[in-house]
Symmetry: none
Subunit: 413 residues, 2 copies
């Protein structure tokens, strides 16, 4: 199966957004063993979209569309495809119901144009939209397949993962399975990780090992083609073992997990509760911990202590610490971690203080970060980081380092 | 002049990188008044690249290529174009010299394949590469223009800005500019907003008005083509005024701003400081406020009060409030807002309490949210929301609603 991804939206052609949907879908199609030969972006213009469809049909047998499924007059992807393929648009009752329910729930007024989103190509398989209103579609005609996905990545990605992937998998003629496992690493750069395991990557052909850099972390995807799931898993286990012998200390989890999820699980396993005192991260660590359903079982709360006054008055950092060591210091991090655990009454306190940027602070360069970890019954520890990113990246990596350090500590218990 | 941007590189089709070059060049071409009708991405494959060139020539008269100018065997953009146009590749002495100098400076050995980068299409105008080795090219043949740019954005962007832009400008017969302005709205859905201004959208042809849904917010893009920047701005002002008469209450800012940025600015204008008490949002509001450089001038800190104990013990919510009203209540939101302002010692306290999901709480359905706002010298207010999203969306929209409500309050001061 050869694929072309067609993104529809004038905002792409005006450069207002990048075509990240094409990137996401390409990755997923690669996992399915489907070759992607072209990406196309076209505006909200039916004549040019039709032209793009005709060109794509001349060279690919799977056409994946993103965008143009919304309620407004600009949104015309399915209308254009319907016209081109000679198909009718019909109301999908389930989608219509779910759109109506959305407006009932949010007590907002439903306008007539919202109904348009429940129109689908006749004879298509519906891909439910669990994060928005417009359903996706999958259609087979002649020797070709057409998949229609919404434009917003927050709707498109979960829809593709939950329904699009399977719909394609069922159509693949080969009975060879593609089994893949993602290993997630933190605290090691992509190029260093690749250097450490380069010989493994080069000598492997089945399974293959592919590194991929993410947001401040690195993942390795091990992919095995085999007609037996069991045998594929065994081959992947072997590859994983060889990788862990080299870089196991940086591994933290599999597939779609996150550091915050792994940390929550580990806290739950030990029956421990945690609180946080955040200066430079400004609530980011707590935000990530509480984004997990059921967070309240392990996370109680914390303090964002952005100013020196809050550090002193709410978290009782000693006046002499601020005068002598400054707030960007090991001593300050230790007091913050110990005192927030006392204030919030938790087993563990974690603290973040440092310089996010763009300006230096107390003579410390941007990227200087201290993370304090206080675990009941153990001496409080502090890790110092020197990060090289901009403000946002420094904040985000600090929060992740905190999760990683604590996770590794708890795994030793 | 109608343009198509052709990105060459298998890494795009494998989803390893996003096509940010197309986005960058599109923005620049829009400024020049050049319409971009298509983006194409194609792999490092001469046959398919030739196919893409032929398709592009059938519908555009400016073809901008990125990628495939490097030293390796995979890099074949100029070779393919040369073959297609019947042009020779010749050594550009300046480029060759600059490549040799690079290796002298970096004390590395120059391999033979590096010379290949100094080969250029005969008769083309050279676009110097001030940040790398491969020069760009600009070529006119018949009624068409061909621009070849390197793939790495760090080389491509400065080359386009310094040399590509001017080369195109000289060829433009019209001096028409495309001026656009983005208006950002919150608290109104995309379809309702469109319904309110549908007649304006439909009757306008210059400027045009186009809605775009973002993450929990809606934007309108007003775009005007005109040979005078001043007149374009005046026409945009007029359209904006008509829009504001209908939906001005939901407007919060222009272009690339965010609610948090506008709120920070407004707080700064009034010389007011703020703190936050966050239950369901778990630090998200504070995270967004502190992500802005210089946040400390208006934001002092706050408390994440995820459990009832933290609400009572740290933020002094009354026991009878929790017993009688529950934590998902107006009374709890009011006490949290007032008490966090006292604890952190700020002019304003804002609070978030409610049910993010997936489970209901105290008999309240998922999406029930109370936002308390305490402004020094004014009676504390509370807004109730009923949101219809999943956990993450409910948290994110709650934080944004808080920013929006407070921004609107401050604008009245």
């Amino acid at each position: 199966m050869n694929a072309e991804i067609i993104a529809v939206g004038s905002e792409l052609l005006l450069g207002q957004i990048a075509n990240t949907n094409a990137q996401y879908i390409s990755k997923q199609l690669a996992q399915l063993g489907i070759n992607v030969y072209f990406h196309t972006a076209v505006g909200d213009n039916p004549a040019r979209l039709k032209e793009a469809i005709e060109v794509a049909e001349s060279r690919s047998n799977l056409l994946v569309f993103t965008g143009g499924l919304g309620p407004t007059k600009d949104d015309l992807t399915k209308e254009t495809i319907a016209g081109h393929l000679g198909k009718e648009l019909v109301f999908d009752e389930a989608a219509l119901h779910s759109i109506e329910q959305y407006f009932v729930r949010s007590k907002r007024q439903m306008t007539e144009n919202n109904k348009k989103q429940a129109l689908v190509l006749e004879g298509s398989r519906i891909l439910a939209n669990d994060h928005g209103m417009a359903p996706g579609m999958f259609l087979e005609k002649g020797s070709r397949f057409y998949m229609l996905l919404p434009g917003p990545p927050k709707e498109m990605q979960p829809m593709f993962d939950a329904y699009g992937y399977v719909a394609l998998q069922e159509k693949l003629t080969t009975k060879e399975l593609i089994v893949s496992r993602v290993l997630r690493f933190f605290g090691i750069g992509e190029s260093l990780l690749e250097t450490e395991i380069l010989d493994l990557i080069e000598k492997q052909s089945n399974p293959t090992i592919a590194p991929l850099a993410g947001e401040g972390e690195v993942t390795l995807r091990i992919t095995c083609k085999h007609d037996s799931q069991e045998e594929a898993e065994r081959l992947i286990d072997e590859a994983e073992k060889a990788i862990f012998e080299r870089v196991g200390e940086f591994f933290y989890g599999y597939d779609d997990t996150t550091l915050a999820k792994e940390l929550s699980k580990e806290l739950g396993k030990h029956g421990l509760t945690i609180s946080a005192a955040e200066s430079l991260t400004g609530g980011l660590f707590q935000q990530e911990m509480t984004n997990i359903p059921g967070a309240g079982n392990v996370f109680s709360g914390g303090v964002v202590c952005y100013t020196n006054e809050v550090k002193q008055n709410v978290l009782s950092v000693k006046e002499e610490t601020i005068a002598n060591d400054g707030v960007v210091s090991e001593q300050c991090a230790i007091e913050l971690a110990e005192n927030v655990a006392k204030l919030i009454d938790t087993d563990i306190g974690i603290s973040f203080t440092g310089v996010a940027g763009p300006d230096e602070l107390e003579g410390h360069p941007v990227g200087t970060v201290y993370i304090g970890i206080s675990i009941k019954g153990q001496p409080t520890t502090c890790e110092k980081l020197l990060l090289g990113g901009g403000r946002s990246a420094n904040r985000s990596r600090s929060a992740k380092y905190g999760q990683f350090f604590l996770l590794k500590e708890l795994q030793k218990l």
